[in-house]
Subunit: 122 residues, 2 copies
């Protein structure tokens, strides 16, 4: 009998699934998942949306595997290893980390770190 | 003139540098960087050290690039994309995420997520 995954794993998985589905189909709605981040060079919903819309138009992310952990501050940290496929381009690996926090009645993303997986083995 | 990096970047970079140096040269001391994590399947300093000592004996990590962000709860989230070189083995990419928190008079690691970068492009 497989036991039910812990709550942070359910919440983290749901968020990640929802995020990439929205990214792929209706990117304009992604802003609703973020709260504005203070103290960051790259901050605010508008800046985030500009970045998301410009930097990677029409790519299709798949996310696996993902790891989720609860933090001491009742947040959830999620780490994603995934692949991006642009329409006429190669498949590229990427890594992304989210920190999710329960604010009001929803889990929102307070931090988002993204890197393409370009390893230089030279 | 290059401006001084923000504090979370200085702290995150120092931690990551220190962590991998210790990992490579004196792994037994790594426990001092962690606080025990509640609610995790894999928890406690002893379990962490057992895992670190068993799973990857004699490998030499290099970490670059790294990203650091402050969180709403005064923590620092660090994402690392790096490479591991075991003594007689291939170079492998890895991703690792840390959450650092200021407890007492030190920055300690409260969360650590690690994955080897094995992308299946099949």
């Amino acid at each position: 009998i497989k036991s039910k995954p812990p709550p942070w794993e359910q919440i983290g998985s749901s968020f990640v699934h929802h995020y990439y589905k929205m990214f792929d189909t209706d990117r304009g709605q992604l802003a609703s998942l973020y709260v504005s981040m203070r103290h960051l060079d790259f901050q605010g919903k508008k800046a985030i949306m500009d970045k998301l819309n410009v930097s990677s138009c029409r790519c299709h992310p798949t996310a696996k595997p993902t790891d989720h952990q609860p933090t001491l501050d009742q947040c959830i940290a999620s780490m994603v290893v995934g692949q991006l496929k642009a329409d006429n381009d190669h498949i590229m690996g990427f890594h992304q980390c989210f920190i999710l926090k329960h604010i009001g009645d929803a889990w929102v993303c307070t931090n988002d770190m993204f890197r393409l997986a370009i390893h230089n083995f030279g």
